[in-house]
Subunit: 207 residues, 2 copies
DNA sequence: CAAATATAAATGAACATTCATTCATTTACA
DNA sequence: TGTAAATGAATGAATGTTCATTTATATTTG
């Protein structure tokens, strides 16, 4: 059942891999500019300067295209979030690492991050989350388990923990995303606000 | 410039106000079922059992329809969130009230709440947020100001405060929304988790 | 009271676009 | 030269919106 296997055949024309990046970048920027209901295959093909038919060589259909881009970007983001992180780390240190990684990625890859956050709230989210989850759930669970065992984290329900540990960060990054916070206050994400907030979160979670 | 003013004219046929509810309910359920890109005016008209043309009597166009429904639901939700709340309340009490109101509304009006959360993340969000903001910004600002003045809340940036005060609640409600939390863990919102989380938040924010 | 009237509500067929998707054909390369 | 990549015109369904027409009703008139 390996979709990637292939039989070598002489004379096979090589697929233009540069084109995959082209499609991804244009798809993301159209989706952000025009929204999900302003996105179409013909618009995408035109933006890429390729034929509509070509899109159907790379992707089974529109849904497949959106879902696969979502999975790709989600994995990329989580990969970056986990850089230099290990579930054996002391709790405060590990959480800090994740906050730093996540926000650094967000600021460096604004389009990709906005795209992922947007697509997560559509009806395409299901298969995307399923795929992402598979890869990262074990690491995150181990981290919490260790922290509680080592008395670096209060005993509490997993959802309570997660919502306090990451809810505030996501809220700040959403503000950054819009450029505005609550009440349309102009907002620019800064390390200062981030560390200020992280400190509060650690105060809440740690003994 | 009052759009609502009208000149009384004999023989005016009365608009069927029941129909406005019909349109709103169907629009919301189509949007939740089929997503923004699965929503269309003809589909909506058919679901309501009325003519497409009628929709264009009530709403200028599709965007106007979505935006106005968003504003309506957003205002309704915030109205409920503020029930029995006053910016003069002691901080912990006021925050608790808002958490309770918001979650109660969410559980009682699941469709409306899901709709609002979804539409907030689309390109229709701008004008919706602008309108909502106007009504509730002053109250929320006064609450924080009072709390800091009375030393019931640490001095901190507004964004830091907001993200910690409400980020975790929104995260829990999103879990409830999906029926799953992180890593596809099945999740059902309960007052127990809510109060457990609120306690952590208060620990973070109050001296 | 009942018929006529005036008005806006409501209709739905019709419009030009745009949509997702297909496929016979052409192109480029190992 | 054989192969898969790439094309793009074509398809039929669906899109947002319009508008000439019909319907319902509050008021006026007889």
């Amino acid at each position: 059942m390996n979709e990637c296997s292939f039989i070598f055949v002489p004379g096979m024309r090589i697929r233009d891999t540069h084109k995959e990046t082209l499609v991804r970048k244009n798809a993301i920027s159209i989706l952000l500019r025009d929204g999900l209901d302003g996105f179409s295959m013909q618009k995408l093909a035109k933006a890429c300067g390729i034929s509509v038919g070509t899109l159907y060589i790379y992707y089974k259909n529109k849904e497949d295209l959106i879902v696969r881009l979502g999975i790709e970007e989600g994995k990329r983001m989580l990969q970056e979030t986990m850089k230099g992180f290990s579930p054996d780390m002391p709790f405060a240190e590990g959480l800090k690492k994740q906050w730093e990684n996540r926000s650094a990625y967000w600021l460096k890859n604004q389009e990709a991050a906005k795209f992922y956050e947007k697509i997560k709230r559509t009806h395409y989210a299901g298969p995307i989350q399923d795929e992402i989850t598979k890869s990262f759930r074990p690491v995150m669970q181990a981290f919490v388990k260790n922290a509680i065992a080592n008395k670096q984290l209060h005993f509490m329900s997993f959802e309570s923990y997660w919502s306090v540990a990451f809810g505030p960060l996501y809220t700040l990054l959403e503000f950054e995303n819009k450029g505005k916070s609550v009440g349309n206050r102009p907002y620019k994400f800064s390390k200062k606000t981030m560390y200020e907030t992280l400190e509060l979160v650690l105060k809440a979670l740690t003994p």
